[in-house]
C-alpha cells in the first residue's frame, strides 16, 4: 500500500481517514500500527519534504527576495502549497462586512496539511483547561479530565520529540522526567525579556516545541510507545532512526527535509505507510460521509480532482480530520445536504480561534550587539506561560482565562524586507546608511499574546445558501464575534507588553490605540480554528462524546480540532494529536469487540 490513485483503491477498508495533518496523521499512525487497514483522503497533492523543502535557499534565490504575495501569503519558502487565506476555486463567504465580524480561513492543499509549516509549539492543556465552566461558569466543560489525556500527551511528546523544561507552574503541566528533550540556549533578546520580565512577575522560560535537539532514543522509545506490539516497535524504530537532530539552521516554517521537527509527513505517515496497511489518496476532496439506512457510516463521497468526477470509497468506520471548518462542511453537506451527526443542531457552532495581539518595540540596549548566530531551532526558544491565576483568583483582573506570551526579535536572517525602519535611517544614504543598519539590526523586538477565547453564540459557520465551489459543493459562510472577555484580555496583554518594553528602556513601535477591536487579530488569523462539533457529556448539548465519536453515528469519529469544547491558550496541535491517539485506541478496542 502506498500513495495511490482512485482506480487503485481497495473494495473496502477498515477505516477511512479524511485529512492528513496532525489529527489524520496520528489516527493513521495509531490504527495502522494496530493492524487496521486504512485509506487516507487528502484534498491536496502529495508532498515529499525530503525532496521539496528549501533548506538553505536564500532570499536572493527566490522571486521578490522571498517576500509575501497573495499566492504565497507567508512568503515564498513557506511550506504551504495551493493555499493560504484563499484557495483558488474554493471560496468561503462572510455573513458581515465588518472586519471584527469576519473569519479568515487558512487552508493548505498538500499532504500533511498545516503541520508542514506550523510553529511547532507543543503545549499541554492543564487540568483547569478541561473544566473551565466549573471554574468560572463560562463556556463548556469537556467530558474528560486532564488525567484522561495525560498519558497520551506523554506518548505524543515521545513520538514526535518535544524540547522544553518543566516549569512547575500552575495549570502548566510538567511532563514525566526524561520525556522532554533539552531546550536550546536563550537568544539575546529572549534573555533580555526574561531579565526584565522577572521584575514584572512575567516568567519567560524555555518554550516547548516539536524539534529534535538530539537524536531520538530509537532503541528505547518504541517499546514504551507500543508495549506488546513487536511489529509496531520495529517499524517505529526505523522511522525514528531516519530522523536527524536539528542542525540549527533553516526556519521551521519551510518544513524540514531531515525530519528534525514534527510534521505529519515526516513523523506520522512514514511508519503508517511502512505497515503496508495505509493507502494515501491525494487530490481527493471529501464531499459527504455516506450513511446507510441504519444510520451507520459506510463510506465517503469525494471529488477526484484529477478528473472532477465523484467517487466513493467504502469502510467500516470514518474519521474526519479535515480541520474544523472542513469537517463541519462535510458533516453539513452529507446526506444530500440534510447533514449527519447533527441531531443536536450544534454542527458548526462554537468555532474558536486563539486571541492574538502583538506589540513591537525597539530596545537601545540591543543596538550594536556583536554579530553572532541566532538561527537556533528555527523558531521561538522562550515564552511566558500564563502567570495570572493567583491575581484572577484574588479578583484583581477584569477578564477570565489566560494568555501566554510568544517572543519575537532576534538576529534573524534578513529577508527581502527593509530590515531597519525609515525613521532610523532618515536622510541617510551611502556608508552611513549601512552603518546605521548594522547598529539597529537585532534591536527590534515583538511580543505576542496567544490567549483563550471563550466559545460564544456569535462565532460559527454554516453552509452558504447560494455559493458553491468549483466542484459544485456548497461552501461555508462564517460568522464571528468577540466578547468582552477577549477584548479585555488583549487590552491587558497590550498594557503588559508596553510596560515590558518601557522597563527595558525601549520605545513602543506599534500604532497608538485605545480600542481593542483595532489591535485584536481578526478571527482565524492565528490559525488555531477549533470547535464546530464540540464534545460533551450529553447528546443534546454536544456533537461527539469523550472518544471524539459522534453521538448520532457510532462509527464516525472527528479527530481534528472540531471536537474541542474550549480553546485554552495552549496551541491546539499537541492536544489534537493526543485526542486522536486516544480515539484511535478506543476505535481499535471497539472494533475488536465487534461494536463498529
Amino acid at each position: 500500500m502506498a500513495i495511490i490513485t482512485p482506480s487503485k483503491t481497495q473494495p473496502a477498508y477498515d477505516v477511512i481517514i479524511v485529512g492528513s495533518g496532525a489529527g489524520g496523521g496520528q489516527a493513521a499512525y495509531t490504527l495502522t500500527l494496530a493492524g487496521m487497514k486504512c485509506v487516507m483522503l487528502e484534498a491536496g497533492r502529495n508532498y515529499e519534504p525530503a525532496r521539496e523543502t528549501p533548506m538553505f535557499q536564500r532570499p536572493d534565490q527566490a522571486p521578490l527576495r522571498g517576500l509575501t504575495t497573495p499566492e504565497k501569503p507567508f512568503g515564498f519558502y513557506d511550506s504551504t502549497i495551493d493555499g493560504g487565506w484563499e484557495v483558488p476555486g474554493e471560496p468561503y463567504t462572510q455573513a458581515s462586512d465588518k472586519r471584527e465580524e469576519q473569519f479568515h480561513w487558512w487552508r493548505p492543499r498538500m499532504l500533511g496539511g498545516r503541520t508542514n509549516h506550523w510553529g511547532r509549539i507543543s503545549l499541554r492543556n492543564g487540568p483547569y483547561d478541561f473544566k473551565p465552566r466549573s471554574r468560572d461558569g463560562l463556556g463548556f466543560d469537556w467530558p474528560i479530565a486532564y488525567e484522561d489525556v495525560d498519558p497520551y500527551y506523554t506518548r505524543v511528546e515521545q513520538l514526535i520529540g518535544v524540547f522544553g523544561t518543566n516549569s512547575g507552574m500552575e495549570n502548566t503541566p510538567d511532563s514525566p522526567e526524561g520525556v522532554l528533550m533539552p531546550p536550546p540556549k536563550g537568544r539575546i533578546a529572549e534573555l533580555l525579556a526574561q531579565k526584565f520580565g522577572r521584575k514584572m512577575g512575567v516568567p519567560f522560560m524555555p518554550i516547548h516545541r516539536a524539534v529534535l535537539t538530539r537524536q531520538q532514543d530509537w532503541q528505547g522509545l518504541p517499546a514504551k510507545l507500543h508495549p506488546d506490539n513487536p511489529r509496531a516497535q520495529r517499524i517505529v524504530q526505523e522511522a525514528m532512526r531516519a530522523r536527524a537532530a536539528c542542525f540549527w539552521a533553516t526556519d521551521c516554517g519551510r518544513g524540514c527535509s531531515i525530519g528534525a521537527n514534527y510534521q505529519s509527513t515526516t513523523v506520522h505517515l512514514p511508519p503508517a505507510l511502512a505497515t503496508g496497511d495505509l493507502d494515501i489518496l491525494p487530490n481527493a476532496h471529501a464531499r459527504e460521509v455516506l450513511v446507510n439506512a441504519e444510520g451507520k457510516a459506510v463510506g465517503v463521497l469525494y471529488i477526484d480532482k484529477a478528473t472532477g468526477k465523484e467517487m466513493r470509497v467504502l469502510g467500516r468506520a470514518v474519521i474526519l480530520a479535515a480541520s474544523s471548518g472542513e469537517t463541519v462542511r462535510i458533516l453539513l453537506n452529507s446526506n444530500g445536504g440534510k447533514g449527519v451527526a447533527n441531531s443536536s443542531g450544534l454542527v458548526g457552532k462554537y468555532i474558536m480561534d486563539t486571541v492574538g495581539t502583538s506589540v513591537a518595540g525597539q530596545i537601545p540596549q540591543l543596538e550594536d550587539c556583536p554579530p553572532h548566530n541566532e538561527d537556533g531551532a528555527g523558531g521561538a526558544h522562550f515564552y511566558a506561560p500564563w502567570w495570572g491565576y493567583k491575581d484572577q483568583a484574588a479578583g484583581q483582573l477584569d477578564f477570565p482565562r489566560g494568555y501566554h506570551i510568544e517572543t519575537g526579535g532576534s538576529r534573524r536572517m534578513p529577508s527581502g524586507a527593509n530590515p531597519v525602519p525609515e525613521d532610523f535611517t532618515r536622510g541617510l544614504y551611502g556608508t552611513r546608511l549601512k552603518e546605521a543598519a548594522r547598529r539597529y539590526y537585532g534591536s527590534f523586538v515583538s511580543y505576542s499574546c496567544r490567549g483563550e477565547m471563550i466559545p460564544n453564540e456569535g462565532s460559527f459557520c454554516e453552509l452558504d445558501p447560494a455559493l458553491k465551489d468549483k466542484w459544485g459543493i456548497p461552501v461555508l459562510r462564517w460568522h464571528w464575534k468577540w466578547s468582552e472577555h477577549e477584548l479585555r484580555q488583549v487590552a491587558h496583554a497590550r498594557k503588559t507588553f508596553i510596560e515590558l518594553i518601557q522597563s527595558m528602556g525601549g520605545s513602543m513601535r506599534s500604532p497608538e490605540s485605545n480600542n481593542p477591536l483595532e489591535y485584536i487579530e481578526a478571527g482565524g488569523k492565528i490559525i488555531h480554528e477549533v470547535g464546530g462539533a464540540i464534545m460533551g457529556a450529553d447528546p443534546k448539548h454536544s456533537v461527539c462524546n469523550q472518544w471524539n465519536q459522534t453521538w448520532d453515528v457510532k462509527n464516525l469519529f472527528l479527530c481534528d480540532g472540531s471536537s474541542f469544547a474550549s480553546n485554552a491558550d495552549k496551541n491546539p496541535t499537541l492536544t489534537i494529536m493526543a485526542l486522536a491517539w486516544r480515539a484511535g485506541d478506543h476505535l481499535v478496542e471497539q472494533a475488536k469487540k465487534g461494536n463498529l
Binding site: E52, R65, T69, T250, H372, M413, G430, T431
Partner: protein, 219 residues
Amino acid sequence: MQETSLHRLSRRDVFKWFAAAAVAMSAEEGVFAVGSGVPNPAGRGYGTDPDLTRDYKPGDIWPLTFDAPQRAAAAVLCDLIFPEDHLGPSASSLGVPAFIDEWISAPYPVQSADRPVVVEGLVWLDAEAGRRFKRGFAALDEDQRRAICDDICDLAKASPEHKKAARFFSKFRSLCAGGYFSTPPGWKAIGYVGNTPSATFDGPPPEALKKVGVEQTVG
C-alpha cells in the same frame, strides 16, 4: 557593470524621457502621475505551487520593466545608496537594480502600487539632472548626483517642490535595503550570521551577553 551607459544613448531617447518626465511632473496629486508610459504589468505570478528549490533570477517568471536609461539610472542610484566600502560590495554588484525591476514588474497589488513611483521617479531623476547639469543622472559625477539626492533623501525636510521626489527616494532606498541585506555580502554588512549547519547551538557569545547585560539561563 551595466550593459548600457547613458551617454551612449541617442538624443531622441533622451528627448523621450524628458517628455515623459514632464508629463509625470504635471500631476498635482499623488506621488507621480499614473499611466504616463507605465503600463500595468501583464505577466502572470508564480502560482500557488512554485518549485521552492530552484534558483530564480529576475525576469524568469514575469517580464521586467526598465528600459536602458531607467536601468542605468537605477544602477547609479543603487550604488549611491549602497556603495562599495569597508562594509561590503556595491548594490549593483549584488543584483539589487534587477531585484527592484523584478519588484515593480510583479503582477501583485503591493508591487504594482510601487511601479509608477519607481519608474516615474527614475525618469524625474534624469529630467532633474538635465535641468541642473544638462546631462542624464547616470552621466553625472558623484558630487552632482549628491546635490540632487541631498534635496530628496529626507522626506520630512524636503521642500514642497521636492516632496514627490523624496517619496520616490524613500521607497527606492527601502527596496534597495531589502535587496541588499538579503544577500550573503549584505548579511555580512548588517551583521547577520547563520544559514549554515552546526552540530551545536551555543547561544550568544560572552561578549554579546556582556554588551547587553544578561546571562545565559539555559544550561
